[in-house]
């Protein structure tokens, strides 16, 4: 099976629970289990090839421009992790089916679980570090959902937030680190990076890259000082803890370190950072685990400790240590997943996970007891179980270090000692001792479905311990070879002779037993000792960041719009001035055009209208009239300077805008009062003048200079006819060359109209609806609401303007015109009808819903664009031809016309929907609906005359 498909399967599986959950949780679980099993089998089929030392790859180009490709690989390391993820995933899916109660939303759980599984598979199968980052972030997100699965529990939500914050921040650091790494290596493919060890380690950017990548790995794998999120994530349901925190997510960091071991490892920096962090984490985790009361907390800190152990081994940087690390990853996954599941069983059956309230479960839960004993003894490192083997190897490596040997040996032995202590405590304080009569539930062994998973893992624990080479040797060899890049052959054996490692092991076991016997006084002194609480520190930092964020936001935005806008204006001015005085604009080369008398009059009018508009802006109706003058001059400006399309658009938009503003003004105050002081107005005028001078100056500077680079317009002028089949270059750019932009723009226009509609909808409900019902109009109403002249004239004009609209639409491709202008012209023609006889009257006489018009427009444009696919061309490539119909001149038909039709429909729909909204507000405010088209009924008068 292709590696890409293996990575994809869990994501497909994530869709199934939602579809199947109505059929019951067993069906959902079976569907997920089947998908996982198929993926697992697909992976295992690659074993023979991997054993031969081959690397199976699948390469799919995704975003080749930024080297983000969906490249996947299967080598020994991917095989090891993939088997763990899918294998344990299968057990967890079964276990969760029995663990979750009927009230839990099971479909959601399985969806999250499969998403997480897919993300993990993506990480371990990626052959591209950018792709790996994508999956890395996906694990953070999906684990957030899983940890917070019980949304009603504050612990769950807080634990999820904390996990996301810590691992998410680490992920961000890692993105930076991976970018640097890819830049040094010149490729983002892991295969290439693995080959450029010398380049990378010689680069001066090696250390920053190393630290940033390790931040990602350490946060994910809960290494000191980021270990604190893991215990808090234990608020998750136990299947989640067992999956995420024993076998998969926390191992992602280890996986990454192992994956990049050949290129990043082996340097003194790597040794000191990674090995020391691992050592400290191993010790701290083990010590805290001994004193925790919650079973899952014990396991959480024990996991932290074991992750530290593996990190330390990877940090040693030797090939033997890498073998030991890989072997311990397998062993830890087996016994820890089993222990997590049994902790869940105890919680489920006895009703508590508090060790103080447990004890004496041996006879009551014999099966669970047997599983726990074997798994915990393995965790303690007691022979002949698998935990013993890898722990021996760890101690052996520590005792053979070349630097700081004694330090590592001592601390590792102490950590092992505590590890023995908490492992034995898990057995003895929970299962032995006198039976009690105050368990929250009467404990008994669970059904087969629940203990089958842990039991299977325990069997593996024993078998790997007894026959390490047969059971795990091949996998260790394959994955260790993938880590080190050389052919590795592990010598796994129970008995290595009497060496330092064995003595350290014996000290640890003896010390651990003594420690457990003295547990009570030790616990007392532990609890009385002052120690920093990571959670408190974390909360303080979060709190401080939130407060700082609020403070900054508040200082920048104190709710005053003029303040914010003047800051914005001044900053833009400053940036512009800076650019002007530091850059080089070159000399003014273009000669000035001569000024004729008419343009000069136009300029005078515009200046006069602008000045009076500012002066009279408090008289709002007058301001509207004056602003319309500026708009008209703008259209004339476009006409004069060879832009007929723009002039047509500007003038029609002007009409619509003024009508809209007038209608809105009907409900707004008609005058603005003076509320500002004279100095304040003076200051604002200063800012405005500066902005005007700056903007005008910039404009002048541009107008007097030639293009610094060749414009792309030449291409468009040249190819407008050849490729787009149109003579009007502006229109061809809109519907063809830059059709995608236009497609986006009509969509935005449609969205704007829908937003207006939605806004109106909320205004017609609640408080504002009542206000509108009691609205008192502050203007005298006209006596003649629907004047006869207007009605008659608009009726006469309607067909003419519709024909004009059609004409403008059809000629658009070759002459000034097109969908935008035609849409506006038709919208104005319709608007006139609505104004003449009232909105409701006109609305009753047509039944096109304007929403549908907008939708149809976007769809028409989109479908036209898609049509190009069928010709094997990219989206929105146009085709055209000439048609001859009888009695008509030969004319052109281009697919761009379909696109332009979409533009047309969208514009008409948007304008009319905006108007419709205002009219609905007016109706709410008591505007009545007239039954006749106009106030004077001509037919009645005719009758009366007879």
């Amino acid at each position: 099976m292709s590696p890409a498909l293996i990575a994809l399967l869990p994501f497909i599986g994530a869709l199934l629970p939602g579809l199947l959950v109505r059929s019951g949780r067993s069906v959902a679980a079976m569907a997920c289990g089947t998908v996982t099993l198929v993926a697992l089998l697909g992976l295992l089929l690659h074993i023979p090839a991997v054993m031969r030392g081959e690397v199976i790859t699948a390469r799919i180009e995704w975003l080749p421009m930024i080297q983000l490709n969906a490249n996947f690989r299967i080598d020994g390391l991917s095989l090891l992790f993939g088997t763990l993820i899918l294998g344990i995933g299968l057990l967890i899916i079964t276990y969760a089916r029995f663990y979750l109660s009927r009230t839990d939303p099971v479909g959601k759980f399985y969806t999250y679980l499969m998403l997480f599984q897919g993300a993990m598979m993506g990480i371990v199968l990626s052959d591209n570090i950018l792709l790996l980052l994508v999956f890395w972030e996906l694990t953070s997100l999906s684990s957030f959902l899983l940890i917070g699965y019980w949304r009603h529990l504050p612990e769950g939500r807080q634990g999820a937030r904390m996990a996301l914050t810590v691992t998410g921040m680490g992920g961000m650091a890692m993105i930076a680190g991976m970018m640097i790494l890819g830049q040094i290596a010149g490729s983002y493919d892991i295969s290439d990076i693995l080959r450029s060890k010398e380049t990378i380690q010689a680069s001066e950017w090696y250390l920053p890259a190393l630290i940033l990548i390790l931040l990602g790995a350490f946060t994910k794998s809960a290494q000191f000082p980021f270990h604190f999120w893991l215990p808090h994530a234990m608020a998750a349901p136990t299947p989640v803890s067992a999956y995420l925190h024993s076998a998969t997510m926390v191992k992602a960091g280890l996986f990454l370190m192992a994956r990049l071991w050949p290129v990043l490892g082996g340097t003194p920096e790597w040794f000191w950072i990674v090995a020391t962090t691992g050592l400290v984490t191993m010790l701290i985790g083990a010590v805290i685990a001994l004193f925790k009361d919650d079973l899952k907390a014990v396991l959480a800190f024990s996991t932290v400790s074991h992750l530290g152990l593996i990190t330390m081994l990877l940090g040693f940087g030797t090939r033997e240590a890498a073998i030991a690390a890989v072997f311990h990853i397998i062993n830890h996954a087996t016994f820890k997943a089993a222990l997590f599941m049994t902790a869940g069983i105890v919680d489920h059956e006895a009703g508590t996970r508090s060790i103080q309230r447990l004890g004496g479960l041996r006879k009551l839960m014999p099966v669970t007891f047997a599983i726990v004993t074997v798994a915990a003894l393995s965790m303690a490192g007691i022979p002949p179980l698998n935990g013993f083997l890898s722990k021996e190897m760890m101690l052996y490596e520590a005792s053979h270090l070349e630097t700081a040997r004694l330090f590592f040996m001592t601390v590792a032995t102490v950590a092992a000692l505590f590890s023995v202590g908490y492992s034995l405590r898990f057995v003895f304080h929970v299962f032995t001792g006198p039976e009690r009569d105050d368990y929250p539930h009467q404990p008994h062994d669970p059904g087969f479905g629940m203990w089958a998973g842990p039991a299977l893992l325990t069997v593996l624990v024993v078998l790997i311990g007894l026959f390490p080479n047969t059971m795990a040797g091949w996998l260790v060899d394959a994955s260790a070879s993938a880590v080190t890049g050389e052919s590795e052959h592990a010598h796994l054996a129970l008995w290595h002779g009497l060496n330092a490692a064995l003595i350290m092991s014996l000290i640890a076991i003896a010390g651990g037993i003594i420690l457990l016997r003295r547990h009570e006084p030790a616990l007392k002194s532990w609890e009385s000792a002052p120690r920093p609480e990571a959670k408190v520190i974390f909360d303080t930092i979060v709190r401080a960041s939130v407060l700082a964020g609020r403070w900054i936001t508040d200082k920048f935005n104190n709710g005053s719009m003029p303040r914010a806008l003047s800051f914005f204006t001044l900053t833009s001015l400053f940036a512009g001035a800076l650019a002007w005085y530091t850059g080089d604009a070159g000399p003014a080369t273009r000669p000035m055009l001569p000024v004729g008398p008419i343009p000069f009059i136009g300029w005078l009018l515009a200046m006069f209208a602008t000045g009076s508009m500012v002066f009279f802006h408090r008289v709002r109706l007058l301001a509207l009239v004056l602003i319309a003058i500026v708009g008209l001059i703008t259209s004339i400006f476009f006409t004069y300077f060879s832009a007929p399309d723009l002039a047509l658009t500007q003038i029609s938009v002007e009409v619509v805008t003024v009508i809209l503003l007038l209608l809105a003004l009907n409900f707004l105050p008609k005058r603005t009062l003076i509320e500002t002081t004279t100095p304040r107005r003076g200051w604002d005028a200063c800012i405005a003048t500066l902005a005007g001078l700056g903007f005008g100056g910039l404009c002048y500077a541009i107008l007097r200079r030639d293009f610094a680079f060749d414009s792309i317009s030449g291409y468009m002028l040249e190819n407008s006819y050849k490729l787009g089949g149109g003579d009007n270059v502006v229109n061809v750019i809109l519907v063809d060359f830059r059709g995608y932009d236009t497609f986006g723009e009509i969509t935005v226009l449609g969205i704007a109209a829908l937003a207006i509609f939605a806004l109106t909808q909320t205004l017609l409900q609640g408080k504002s609806s009542a206000r509108l019902k009691n609205w008192v109009h502050d203007q005298r109403r006209a006596g003649d609401r629907h004047p006869m002249m207007l009605v008659i004239v608009t009726r006469v004009i309607l067909p003419i303007s519709l024909v004009v609209g059609l004409f403008i639409f059809l000629r658009g491709h070759n002459q000034p015109g097109g969908g935008f202008i035609a849409g506006l012209v038709v919208a104005i023609a319709l608007l006139m009808q609505y104004m003449a006889s009232g909105y409701a009257w006109a609305q009753d006489r047509q039944n096109i819903p304007f929403h549908a018009l907008i939708g149809a427009g976007v769809v028409a444009a989109g479908v036209t664009g898609i049509g190009a696919w069928f010709n094997g061309k990219p989206f929105l490539t146009s085709a055209y031809g000439y048609v001859k119909l009888p009695f008509l001149e030969e004319f052109e038909l281009a697919t761009a016309m379909g696109f332009d039709l979409g533009v047309f429909l969208c514009v008409v729909g948007a304008v009319m929907l905006a108007l419709n909204s205002l009219s609905r507000i007016a109706r709410q405010a008591g505007e009545t609906v007239n039954e006749k088209p106009m106030d004077i009924d001509l037919s009645e008068e005719q009758k009366g005359a007879h």
């Binding site: 807080q158 200046m607 000045g611 602003i627 409900f667 005008g696």
Partner: protein, 128 residues
């Protein structure tokens, strides 16, 4: 001519900036409309000013044409700015109807932040 155009655009911009610094919504809407004129004409002018050479091709005519690209950009900009003006007008209208006045600044009451929730996973009873 260039000087006239630049001064006209600058005047529009100055008027627009002055108006958006006012305290009532209607003045701000007017100001934004003025800024729209200024920006659209400015964008158009980046194609340089050319008289009597519209970008309409004629068969076999090799004469110079004006720059069509800024025109195409500005054409959609005009229509989009209409859409945005309509949204802003409706927002100011809604604010006036809902709130009873057309002030642009945020009332002090609306600026109150919710109390910072303690991020604390101790059970309720312990926290008290």
């Amino acid at each position: 001519m260039e000087l006239l155009v630049a001064s006209g655009i600058g005047a529009c911009m100055a008027a627009g900036i002055y108006l958006i610094l006012r305290l009532r919504t209607f003045a701000v809407v007017l100001g934004m409309t003025m800024i729209t004129y200024a920006i659209n004409t400015f964008l158009f002018a980046t194609g340089r000013l050319v008289v009597n050479l519209p970008p309409i091709l004629h068969d076999g005519d090799a004469a110079a044409y004006t720059d069509p690209l800024p025109q195409a950009l500005v054409l959609t900009a005009i229509v989009i700015s209409f859409g945005m003006t309509a949204v802003v007008v409706m927002m100011s209208l809604g604010a006036f109807i809902e709130g009873g006045d057309d002030h642009i600044n945020m009332p002090p009451d609306d600026r109150e932040m919710p109390p910072l929730k303690t991020i604390d996973d101790r059970p309720e009873e312990e926290r008290a």
